[in-house]
Symmetry: D3
Subunit: 237 residues, 6 copies
Amino acid sequence: MTTLKPQTRDQLKLCTTATLSTQLFKRGLRNVWIDGARLMSSAKGVMVGEAFTLRNIPCREDIDHAGVFDNPDHPQRKAIETAPAGSVFVNDCRRDTRAASGGGILLTRLAVRGVAGMVSDGCVRDATEIAAMDFPVYCAGAAAPLNIARHHAVDINVPVACGGVPVYPGDVIVGDGDGVIVIPAHLAEEVAAATVEQERFERFVMEEIRRGQPVIGTYPPNDATRARYLAWKDTPR
Amino acid sequence: MTTLKPQTRDQLKLCTTATLSTQLFKRGLRNVWIDGARLMSSAKGVMVGEAFTLRNIPCREDIDHAGVFDNPDHPQRKAIETAPAGSVFVNDCRRDTRAASGGGILLTRLAVRGVAGMVSDGCVRDATEIAAMDFPVYCAGAAAPLNIARHHAVDINVPVACGGVPVYPGDVIVGDGDGVIVIPAHLAEEVAAATVEQERFERFVMEEIRRGQPVIGTYPPNDATRARYLAWKDTPR
Amino acid sequence: MTTLKPQTRDQLKLCTTATLSTQLFKRGLRNVWIDGARLMSSAKGVMVGEAFTLRNIPCREDIDHAGVFDNPDHPQRKAIETAPAGSVFVNDCRRDTRAASGGGILLTRLAVRGVAGMVSDGCVRDATEIAAMDFPVYCAGAAAPLNIARHHAVDINVPVACGGVPVYPGDVIVGDGDGVIVIPAHLAEEVAAATVEQERFERFVMEEIRRGQPVIGTYPPNDATRARYLAWKDTPR
Amino acid sequence: MTTLKPQTRDQLKLCTTATLSTQLFKRGLRNVWIDGARLMSSAKGVMVGEAFTLRNIPCREDIDHAGVFDNPDHPQRKAIETAPAGSVFVNDCRRDTRAASGGGILLTRLAVRGVAGMVSDGCVRDATEIAAMDFPVYCAGAAAPLNIARHHAVDINVPVACGGVPVYPGDVIVGDGDGVIVIPAHLAEEVAAATVEQERFERFVMEEIRRGQPVIGTYPPNDATRARYLAWKDTPR
Amino acid sequence: MTTLKPQTRDQLKLCTTATLSTQLFKRGLRNVWIDGARLMSSAKGVMVGEAFTLRNIPCREDIDHAGVFDNPDHPQRKAIETAPAGSVFVNDCRRDTRAASGGGILLTRLAVRGVAGMVSDGCVRDATEIAAMDFPVYCAGAAAPLNIARHHAVDINVPVACGGVPVYPGDVIVGDGDGVIVIPAHLAEEVAAATVEQERFERFVMEEIRRGQPVIGTYPPNDATRARYLAWKDTPR
Amino acid sequence: MTTLKPQTRDQLKLCTTATLSTQLFKRGLRNVWIDGARLMSSAKGVMVGEAFTLRNIPCREDIDHAGVFDNPDHPQRKAIETAPAGSVFVNDCRRDTRAASGGGILLTRLAVRGVAGMVSDGCVRDATEIAAMDFPVYCAGAAAPLNIARHHAVDINVPVACGGVPVYPGDVIVGDGDGVIVIPAHLAEEVAAATVEQERFERFVMEEIRRGQPVIGTYPPNDATRARYLAWKDTPR
């Protein structure tokens, strides 16, 4: 697994998924937005971590019965105990929202183990409990039925689909109030640096817009705006 | 209508739909979750009541005109006045979200009459007003258009579909922060008792997880955990 | 563009989209509700304004590259600078929710320019920022990818589709906690007046329902209720 | 049940659903087209008959087991034996296409009994067999799973929804190569007569278009075209 | 891989997916029907074979470029050359229909290699060519774009989802004019035998229905019908 | 409008949409496939022509009444009479399949006028008649309701969306048994030439595959295959 440098992680915690998406777009990547995953908990700040994945297929009645969790090697339970601290646990539920990909107990275990967050294109149960958690949980909504009512956990840490996009183990997953973006591992460092710089410019733009400047000439900047930005940037604040 | 025993009602008010879904799954029932119904009001606690249903079909322009409500026997209005206190009013809107299945006035009337809550796979209007109500309203979202712009109320208290699952009059409907589950009438007592016991165990599990125990061996429990649970259970708290 | 009279605008600010939909239904108009647009900001009160539209088609990779905004005549940017104060900016995104139709900077510019609000059947980015804005933003949700990742802005102020309904420039757009309704320009005055009167009646009905009156006979009113209403209406309050 | 006059039935057998839809549109009825039902058999000509309906809700595992058909009063089987000769059997499957609403045996029984055809917004099984039948079968496609794998037949000959539109028992159902339209019973006679006349005019228009006339001035006709039509109409052919 | 016995294969070639679905339902299996896969070629008879799977995830622009097929180990191409004769090649395309999971050349290679058929929940290209092939191809429709425009082939012969149901390598896949069913490997022999017997009974039932017997008492049979069946069965034909 | 050279048109008539999609993909264009449009008529060969567009928005009851066609300038009728011979008439119906974008009469007029074909992401009526026409008609299916029951024709020959992709007037539209692809005008000549060459190579590949060559090493070719192809190409046939 590519190692996410601490500095890159720190930079990404200052980014928005909006600006990250623009930087990835500039590098030819459009298919990086996990469609439909929204923040369900009260976690503050930006979620950052390398993807650790769990792949699910639809359940089958004779295989996915209530006794499966007696098996200590059940992939879902094993994945919960295996995801490294600092990683983001990514659940591929094929966008099936009729059952939970996890609930209060499993998510609490992930939090206790130091995992950075959870993302699913399925649902979670115990939504009220999760709403109060200070642990990032992004998914498609709430559904009480237990996972094996629809899902069969089958593989740990393989490339998966989530919300319509590919997620490879080790990709850098970033989540904020808009949702979740996937940064290919090899681009994380470069994109993080470019985004931090763009975020600074956008803060300047917002000040300009608030004081009445038009978007044309400001965003993107013409020469005059660019000059003002350079001055602004150098001003201690 | 099967009578829901007061004791069963009291037990269900201590349950979550998550745990109820597990108990129903163990009894071979997967198709019991009303897909897409979420809490729209500020009601606290768990909604419990026997289903009283209203069936809608699509409207027809020559039948569903603004004058229909002058008829004192209009099925929607009659249903509102007929649903027993303690029941849950279940609206089958065929998952059509382009119109309201009710609004502030009708829902207030249900509340005044002592009905336990309302569930619909359509929408409601007056969402801001409803958001402030202390009456459980579960549905698919907000839409201002009046019901007859899309729906024709046709039958009272017959078996219906709601959010993709069957609801028979008298089935026990339970709603919490995750959404709404349907318990077949004949299973209510048995499932309530089993769920109350499982909820107790899950509270113990959560304590274990919070203090750092792994899910494997704890949930489901191995012998050591089971022993600790028996001790925990007997400890006055 | 038909001029929305100040008095009509003031009346509409006292209306709900629910009651407006009933009045439009009575005039044979069912297809006026922008499906799926919900309030994303903390704006209070009712949004009212004449439609100013922006039409988008799907993007094409060779046309919609990162450099397009260098063009000062780019239709999206130009529309932002052209929408009149008091108008509602309506974005036709063909209900594609995989990219943003705008973000914090553009919406702030609209607010600074005195535009009355923004409606889109696509998404917005910077949802956390927007959630705190005192400017009405109605759309289908949050998505970080920039507009040109999916959309190509092509026309300003032409008739468009939004959320499944037609919007003609100059139509009167009204938004509240339920969502957004479109009033054909030529009906705005008449419908506003009728709605204000109906809202008054509904406030009376709500009082009646709260004190225990049944809906049958009250809503719609029988003769006795009608008489009580006339008295109520004349009572100074 | 309103009786469909033999003459009206004969006239409707000369109509197309296209022209019938235009006549219903002129009378304010838009919501009459069964969305997604297409001809699956080799029946020729136009299907005409009064609606006889079967309502289904989703199945429940403990109710809908393989033994249900041992009950001679099972609603689906009873409906098959009860639908009058000359009627059209309309299945409301809530547009769920994951199971069959019927197969070769049941459809053959309907044909033997003189029923005029079958319409469903679900699927059929035995599609190859049905493709060869000279009996009109309109539905959403083929699916092998037996009905009770998804559906529970619950009511016979009540108002239902089918393909998004209302169907009342006794409504006149007409099917051709485009699909299936629902004519409210009280309009059947009037609409049939008007459609027969419009079909004649459209045959004339087609001749005009084929010989090179433009649509403008021909369809709808200007005075010159109207005159030519009157002459054409009176010409023995 | 469980070996499908020649006798079981021969029996399954006499079965319909309709009757197989009934036998699987009786054994508690509902989730076995590949939703939306229909026959696109002119293959006759019943397709039978053990599943050999290819798993796809969504493409990523920097990984899935036109040069990937230069790699002789590209999973899609390798899978085509590896699927055993007699197996059914099952493509998991996550139901994305915007690109092809294969075309004329690859399908011809499968046919030449003796593979029993191909199933996909995506599309195929070269539909006209495929329509003329005497090789079973079941999928969701036609789409010209090449696979890597949407799909990234990632794994060979792992458990996958296809059309909403699980497919394990070695499961027995059966296709006919209705579509495709998945028989768990361990049930194939038992289900094949039971289905062959049921098919015989259904042929008798069809004769009964054709000669005017009602479904009630015939299907399922009462004692009289059962007696007639036993006689019919013993009659040489 | 860019002029499509006769030679390019002739070359495109020898292409498949499959190979064209590959050539466009190599040039960075993925979003060029009109999703869901399939051939409804018996036209043979490849449809080729420059796009002439008609834009529709949803209808409004007070605007789109039966009298609109009395207006000789009604955009739909005018478009039918204006589309140049050799062009392809492209209807943007926002993928709404509940009404017809045209029927037998209008399509016959297009054919008489020498238009090269019709494409719509909506439906057509008179499907049986159209099935027999020797004029290319590509759309999403059959629906009898007249266009104004859902659509309002609003603009002629502007950039539109069709089946999820952008279509600019003058883009080259090509249709075959797989469906319809859009070639940006400026790429038509280059892509046509490259595709003709690739089609030749694919014919060779198919011969190789038919005689038992594996796909690996053949498609794409290794050096040995490439050499054989060069010889094959030079062989008179």
